[in-house]
């Protein structure tokens, strides 16, 4: 039977746990960031539409 390389076992164990957490944490940050940017852009567009609609209505009334 082959002798177990315990230093390798510990390396796989440690780097695995830490690695998964780091990747998922990074993904969490990027997901939050991207959704906030999209929220900001979408809200800005919504505001623009809300502002532009009354102006168009006023212009129509004037005409």
């Amino acid at each position: 039977m082959m002798e177990t390389d315990w230093s390798k076992v510990l390396e796989v164990f440690g780097s695995g746990i830490i690695g998964v957490f780091l990747v998922m944490f990074l993904l969490q940050i990027l997901t939050q960031l991207s959704t906030r940017i999209i929220d900001f852009v979408e809200n800005k567009n919504k505001d623009k539409t809300l502002v532009s609609v009354p102006q168009e209505a006023v212009a129509k009334e004037k005409a």
Partner: protein
């Protein structure tokens, strides 16, 4: 006439039949029973069971390299890593990442559940398995069939049948394995926690998620590329809403076709010579251990997160951090509603559940990087 009859008998499979073959038939019949009568993961267990049966009929040579019919399915589908990524393409086209995008914190629950996988890796080494075998056994804890098959085919192909059957069997047994762990590791008050409403997720956010995720994971852990790229492509098909035909093809026709080849190939690896060994029993035991520990790790992760969160999460949703979509989320919902009838946890649990799929792929890629 007598000579013809004698030749027929001596060239038939009967003369080459061994006790091991008959035991494998019995195993096949049990799996057929579970698939047909009990409906435990029948889409996979049925072709697996039939694969076991036919490959253990002597002189059929179905798994003969370069000649056997099923060997071609196995070689091109699994050895060359075609089928598991295609299954992920179909899976991506079916998954809704909305609950995860609405509550990205649940990604950490998907990571927490993977801790159990590494504990099992350690345990498997203690039981005498070599590092590659231990990695293949540990991934069972992720409760993700295609990822288990993908990793095992790379690290320890001789264990493929045992790890795949173990993963699918425990996925089917989620409603039996998980509730005792949930009740053991949470208090009644914790199970009653009602979570705050999930925020709405826009279409653009759902479209951006697979792109951001694919880029992030493939840049950080390149060995995850085959699985994660297909998963996210399938999801992009679905969320873009412009390729309905491709979405349907990926989630229905393609998925069904590759499932047949996958099941049959996995079953066909389970010959008496490879399957009937004490090691296989240990694999089933360690697989169960992995699954239970991963469930526990997810629950404890949720409890740990509650120490820092203003809006507490119901720790039960941590148990859905193992993949097994959507069985684990349904199980969380059931246990949660038993504690508090007004608690509707299904959507909250879907977040960590789909995070678990991503987490298992990342964990498998890291194992592959270290052991491959």
């Amino acid at each position: 006439m007598f000579d013809i009859l004698r030749e027929l008998i001596f060239t038939s499979g009967f003369v080459s039949l061994s006790g091991g073959n008959i035991i494998m038939w019995m195993i096949s019949f049990v799996l057929l029973y579970l698939a047909i009568k009990k409906q435990y993961e029948p889409l996979l267990l049925l072709p697996i069971a039939f694969g076991i049966l036919v490959v253990n009929l002597p002189l059929t040579f179905l798994m003969d390299p370069e000649h056997g019919l099923i060997w071609f399915f196995y070689h091109y589908g699994i050895e060359l890593d075609i089928i598991p990524p295609l299954i992920f393409l179909g899976l991506g086209a079916m998954i809704d990442f909305g609950p995860l995008i609405a509550n990205p914190k649940t990604l950490l629950l998907g990571a927490g559940a993977q801790a159990g996988l590494y504990v099992t890796f350690f345990a498997a080494v203690l039981f005498g398995f070599d590092l590659q075998e231990a990695g293949s056994i540990a991934i069972i804890g992720g409760a993700d069939g295609p990822t288990t098959i993908y990793l095992t085919s790379k690290l320890a192909p001789h264990l493929l049948g045992a790890t795949a059957v173990s993963a699918y069997a425990y996925m089917a047994l989620v409603p039996i394995i998980q509730p005792p762990m949930m009740k053991l590791l949470t208090t009644d008050a914790e199970r009653k926690i009602v979570m705050t409403k999930l925020r709405p997720v826009s279409k653009l956010q759902k479209i951006c998620f697979p792109i951001v995720t694919a880029m992030t994971i493939m840049l950080v852990v390149p060995p995850a590329a085959p699985l994660i790229s297909m998963l996210m492509l399938g999801n992009l098909f679905k969320e873009s809403g412009v390729v309905e035909r491709l979405t349907n093809a990926a989630s229905n026709e393609l998925m069904n076709v590759v499932t047949i080849f996958l099941g049959l190939s996995i079953g066909a690896t389970m010959t008496a010579a490879t399957f009937l060994s004490p090691k296989v029993l240990f694999i089933f035991f360690l697989g169960l251990f992995a699954f239970a520990i991963s469930t526990g790790a997810g629950l404890l992760m949720a409890k740990f997160m509650n120490l820092f969160l203003k809006d507490k999460i119901n720790p039960l949703i941590g148990a859905a951090g193992v993949s097994a979509v959507p069985m684990a989320a349904r199980c969380v919902h059931k246990v949660g509603s038993e504690a508090n009838r007004r608690n509707y946890l299904l959507m909250y649990a879907m977040g960590p559940n789909v995070a678990g799929v991503i987490g298992t792929v990342v964990a498998a890629a890291i194992l592959l990087k270290n052991l491959g």
